[in-house]
Symmetry: C2
């Protein structure tokens, strides 16, 4: 496969929207709005019914276009799709995203026949296709956006390093909207639908060398034929450059049956998948929360060199919860060595607790955090820090984010922050995350996320990638 | 124990704030502000240094008060506390909340001696005491609020049916703030600190007969001496009237050591606690998230009669995730019986999937939901519904909340809603929750919460409480 062909999908210099329409509420209308909003390349509209849409010229067919566009976005009734895709191929279009449904997912003879015809065009002409029956691509850098839900229904996340591939369109749109709300940055998101051509395997191969993608996330229900094995083999190489997080749906036999109803995929034996994922260093998110919990720590934090974690907190209870959670995830929470205790006692008031968890107590201020962090972050027996900084204490200000990020950057060790609450907490969260530190509301979720980072770190170390 | 004594703590007709001060940033100032804001009873301020604070008369000592207040809130340096508590007892004060720290938690001889002196006053005079070294009580109905964090730092939640008891003050304040942000209603919250007198056992006994408390939540690190056994025995009775959710901190030996540093409590053998909790029907929250996830379903939903769950969704992927999650939690997700399939096919377009999970697909609207729910909710083989209503589809409006709550109320069966995303999702969430239905962002968390409801339902059934 020529990966540069896939460039035409994500970063085309020109796009034709086939099935463009001025009618409100129609997919073809949302597509026109999406492309006129952010896409910087040339946009051509195609629909024989119109000569103009929203002030833009509209062409009767692709054959009338002044140049062959690099990408065709096809949103027309299924029966016309094979013919139009062939016309696109003939004029030299490199890639197409077929949004239209009405193919094999219907289970009807006609749908299956139409999908076979699409595949025949792909095979004959070599045009690269995403879909049919999909949301397509949201590319935050080029502005390609075929997710046909309007902004009022689905917010677009900020630019960032996470790329996301989903076998479920609805799940993809929900996750994008969720990430927008949580200010998590996206590079590219792909919903591939019936994957008549391009599938997960092609996509992770492409994202491996994509400079803006730092972490790859996948929602997978099942693979076609031998593509499961191919996925594992390709993933093995991708992992060496960037982490892959997989949420596998259809884990139970009953869930597998639901997969058949949903995407007609075979969910396969989950235990075999899970073992294969683990073997090649793919990180499995076992819950919805873990998808973004894991992504944000893998995106921002340096690798771990060992499993010894120190806790610094202003809330004793959070310290206890964190200790349990970290131990449960297999971390060592070492007792503070005597000489370190001595150092800490020099800077801490008598009522503070130098044991790990180090409890700065409710009268802590930024300065007390700073002094303690400057001492412990550089100790060779500290592999990571978790900071339980509840923002309800009067002494905590936004400076704390600076202090923590400064010391952790110099120490080159990972950190995770626990922060629980309402408006004040959200302001602190935003500031911590702006400074590149992952924030969690739950001690257990922070511990799980740190474990994902640890597992990835140890995998790379084992295979001497780092 | 006379439980009516505890009324004086939660709903006193008059309060004295001993240690009141006009100095900004001091605890005594926040307490004055708290009580002048919402408390309706008579508030007396006591501090020999002032004759007036924020426009209110201030008394030199409790002996000069025109009447004995029912409740004394004490926020003065530890060495003066035993004497002042004795004076309170002598004039007939029924109960006191001792906010001041500087007692046994310091581990010093003086602190231990002062705490013993406080205990001696309690034993001699029978005054009931919360504390010392605590945040005290937040009572959302009477307006008693000794949580000395100002509103800017810690929001107060709306009135509601959850009461919360915490061995960690910081955790209590974080949870209140978190609940305020998530619009979860609180009845009473108690941080009891060193529990020289009143402890968890007394408090759950009191809350058992408290008409505004519907669900009791506890954060527990450890019990004193024989109080663990007493707690279990009392809980056994409470459970018959209302559910108890416990988050036990200090689950691991390493966490237990952190507990000793934090509250000097003995965490005890977690497995023994956990088994005892299970035996008497206490629901254990294993993570921070589960505390409120469980509370809101137990608060709002009727009991389950069996373990068969049907899923209705507009997003196939969410349906698959939910199926896995429910099966993992031990639920049965039955296949849709043939006759029900027939009924559903009559109201559903051909591309919808009548199998369980019932997939209404992305072109669903409120009406399609309503028609399906009216059919399935009343089937005898449906024990609960989980509805994966992703709000990104154009056909979904706020009417959906009405439709669902109307049918579920008539069917008298529990429901949980999955809803993921940003502003649109939050608007739907608010509307669903206003109508008394619990909303979750994660399929796995919804399944865990439903399981908590199921376990509680089955416990009551087994002991023929219902």
């Amino acid at each position: 496969m020529n990966l540069r062909e896939l460039e035409a999908l994500f970063n085309p210099s020109s796009v034709a929207i086939i099935g463009a329409t001025p009618i409100e509420g129609k997919i073809g209308r949302v597509l026109v709005e999406n492309f006129t909003r952010r896409y910087r390349g040339k946009t051509y509209l195609v629909n024989p019914k119109y000569s103009e849409i929203l002030g833009l010229k509209c062409y009767r067919s692709v054959k009338e276009l002044p140049e062959p566009p690099q990408l065709a976005v096809i949103a027309i009734p299924a029966p016309s799709v094979p013919q139009v895709l062939m016309e696109c191929s003939e004029i030299g279009v490199k890639a197409a995203i077929i949004i239209s449904g009405g193919f094999s997912e219907t289970g009807t003879d006609e749908g299956i026949r139409l999908e076979r015809e699409v595949r025949e065009v792909v095979e004959r002409y070599g045009i690269r296709v995403i879909g049919p029956n999909c949301l397509g691509i949201f590319d935050n850098y080029s502005g390609v956006d075929t997710f046909f839900l309007p902004e009022e229904r689905m917010k677009r996340p900020p630019k960032g390093g996470i790329s996301f591939i989903s076998q479920s369109g609805a799940f993809a749109s929900a996750l994008l909207d969720y990430m927008a709300y949580n200010n998590l940055g996206i590079a590219r998101a792909i919903s591939y639908g019936n994957k008549v051509d391009i599938d997960d395997v092609d996509l992770i191969k492409f994202l491996k060398d994509d400079p803006v993608t730092k972490v790859i996330v996948l929602y997978i229900e099942g693979f076609k034929e031998s593509r499961g094995r191919a996925f594992i083999e390709v993933a093995r190489e991708v992992i060496k450059k960037k982490p892959i997080i997989v949420y596998k749906a259809g884990k139970t036999p009953r869930g597998g049956r639901a997969v058949i109803s949903h995407t007609a995929a075979l969910a396969g034996d989950y235990n075999i998948y899970s073992a294969a994922f683990r073997q090649v260093g793919i990180i499995e998110a076992e819950t919805f929360d873990e998808i973004t919990d894991f992504a944000k720590i893998l995106l921002t934090q340096p690798l771990m060199k060992g499993n010894r974690v120190f806790i610094v907190t202003d809330a004793g209870g959070i310290g206890v919860m964190l200790t349990d959670a970290l131990v449960k995830e297999g971390f060592e929470v070492p007792l503070t060595p005597e000489d370190l205790k001595g150092e800490l006692r020099k800077v801490l008031p008598r009522h503070c607790i130098p044991d790990n968890p180090i409890d700065l107590t409710g009268d802590a201020d930024d300065e007390r955090y700073r002094e303690v962090l400057e001492i412990i972050a550089f100790k060779p027996y500290v592999d990571a820090l978790v900071i339980g900084a509840l923002p309800h204490i009067p002494g905590m200000t936004m400076k704390l984010a600076d202090y923590i990020s400064s010391v952790m950057e110099r120490a080159q060790k990972p950190v995770a922050i626990i922060n629980i609450g309402s408006e004040v907490a959200l302001k602190f969260k935003a500031e911590f995350e702006r400074k590149g530190m992952p924030v969690y509301e739950s001690p257990e979720r922070a511990a799980r996320a740190l474990r994902a980072l640890y597992v990835y770190s140890m995998y790379l170390k084992k295979y001497e990638v780092v």
